[in-house]
Amino acid sequence: MHIDDTNILITGASRGLGRALAEALAARGARVVMVARGAEPLREAVRAIREAGGDAHALPGDVGAPDAASRIAGAAAAMVGPIDVLIHDASTLGPVPLAPLTETGDEDFERAFAVNLIGPFRLSKAVVGSMVARGRGLIVHVSSDAGVEAYPTWGAYGASKAALDHLSRTWAAELEGSGVRVISVDPGEMDTTMHADAIPDADPSALARPADVAARFVALIERPELAPSGARVAAEVAA
């Protein structure tokens, strides 16, 4: 898919990979609508893109809130037009330091699923019909290694990402032949606030920079042969 002149909706876009993706895609000529809970960091991220000549729009919102999806989808389309690419980057680890399942609160487990799984389901549902009607579109789920491997203390997050991967495959199966591609991408370990929250003693120099990972995402968006619909790929395949 050509990125120039497309309308892209990105959640979790005020920092880390989401922000780097918004910057990379806006630099390639996309109109980006950026969703995040914190209005102030979001405004700052949008300002930076606009100062660089990009077309970015701030849309504060919590993807884990029950009535958020139709409001996010509607406001985004009002700002830029029908959405061509939807990137589900927002996710929550839950309380840090991470705790084993026996010490994970029910509400925290539910919140991880609300943000990491149910929110993306609802938002995709609000957007995908217009993609099918136009015969084109792309939905990207940002996944994690924790959705494949079972790491102690990563239970809620890991289970939600495993479910997200399955959701992605199911969307792809149902949308086969519609012109809409649905993929799941594991970005790998990155030097982000989230990573520092989860693993405070990691050596940042050993981690990938979000901007470099974002560049690989751009290649995955542009080149379907690297990540056909239904695939779960590591961002590294586009290195």
């Binding site: 701030a58 509607g74 406001a75 389309a77 029908p82 019909g129 217009s130 519609s178």
Partner: protein, 342 residues
């Protein structure tokens, strides 16, 4: 004999539950089916045209001059101002026609709408003091953020409960232009659209900004539907024009699609792509130049929508369709069952 249809008071789960009366205008035959059977009604070479307008959260609660008011968005103008209708205090459970009149309002007055959102009156319609053109502050993205945070979809007094924004959208809603839902397309989910295509239909879209169905002011209601904006993509013009030239069937999903296509054709003498506005009002005297068949909600003679359907079928057949629908327990109004008039 025509009767009234009971309103559907809540959204039904799943398209399969919705009913479809096939109204054959050539033979007069009425056939009771399910919306799920729609693909079997596709004829080779059909072009089905959707209205992809998403429905705005067009109802804003506010205050003016110490009184509670409701501001209902009707249509956006190119300069970013909006035509809107001001209603007096009350809730969606009250029939719009029974709502008290709003306070008297003049150019320059400001309506407060919660948060930082405000609306300044820049024009009052000479025909109705409640029909106003307003400029919102903030404008631009700030307006959209505020509207989607504060606004609710327009409700109907017959509903069992308030509808959420997600519940008033069609499955393929793309551009938020409509004050009220283009409801004929409600039962067409993604799966059904794909099956229509698999059955041989070419499915294309346009965007038509459906306005309000009621304003509470008889002088204004008598003028409904007011002129409405549409956008006709070049690909849709190509598909529909080829079908017309080759005498293949053009099926409009909803009267808004019919209005856009026939209005555009009437203005230009042929279909022409782009943004336009039409004041065409469908009725028994309308000559259809483009559209052959209509998927619509079931409507009884008491609804204003019923008159629009007379462009597609004679009064006698429509009355038979109402009678049969009522006898079969079909539900009417915005969330109701469907008719395919073909």
């Amino acid at each position: 004999m025509a009767e009234a249809l009971a309103p559907a008071r809540a959204p039904r789960r799943g398209a399969r539950a919705q009913r479809l009366l096939h109204v054959d205008t050539a033979t007069g035959a009425l056939t009771d089916e399910r919306i799920d059977d729609l693909p079997s009604r596709v004829e080779p070479g059909d072009v089905w045209v959707l209205n992809d307008a998403a429905t705005l959260p067009a109802s804003l609660s506010g205050g003016f001059d110490g009184q509670a008011v409701e501001l209902r968005l009707r249509a956006e103008r190119e300069d970013g101002t909006w035509w809107a209708v001001l209603l007096g205090e009350g809730s969606w459970r009250d029939d719009t026609d029974a709502r008290p009149a709003p306070p008297r309002i003049e150019v320059g007055d400001r309506i407060t709408l919660g948060g930082r959102l405000g609306a300044e009156v820049v024009e009052v319609d000479p025909l109705s003091a409640r029909s106003v053109r307003v400029r919102f502050t903030p404008g631009g993205d700030g307006f959209w953020r505020a509207l989607y945070a504060l606004g609710r979809p327009v409700q109907y007094s017959y509903l069992a409960r308030e509808l959420r924004l997600s519940e008033v959208q069609t499955g393929y809603a793309a551009r938020p232009w409509s004050a009220e839902p283009p409801s004929a397309g409600r039962p067409l989910g993604v799966g059904l659209l794909e099956r229509l295509r698999a059955a041989g239909a070419e499915v294309v879209s346009l965007t038509h900004a459906a306005g309000l169905s009621a304003t509470g002011d008889p002088a204004l209601d008598a003028r409904l539907p007011l002129p409405e904006r549409y956008d006709l993509p070049a690909a849709t013009v190509d598909a529909v024009s080829r079908a017309v030239a080759e005498r293949r069937r053009v099926v409009a999903v909803g009267t808004t699609v019919t209005r856009a296509l026939e209005g555009n054709h009437r203005t230009h003498g042929a279909l022409r792509p782009g943004v336009g506005e039409t004041d065409l009002v469908l009725g028994p005297d309308t000559t259809l130049s483009v559209v052959d068949a209509l998927l619509t909600g079931a409507h009884d003679p008491a609804s204003s929508h019923y008159q629009l359907l007379r462009a597609f079928a004679p009064e006698r057949l429509l009355r038979e369709a109402v009678g049969r629908s009522a006898a079969l327990g079909y539900l009417g109004h915005e969330l109701g069952d469907s008719w395919l008039i073909a």
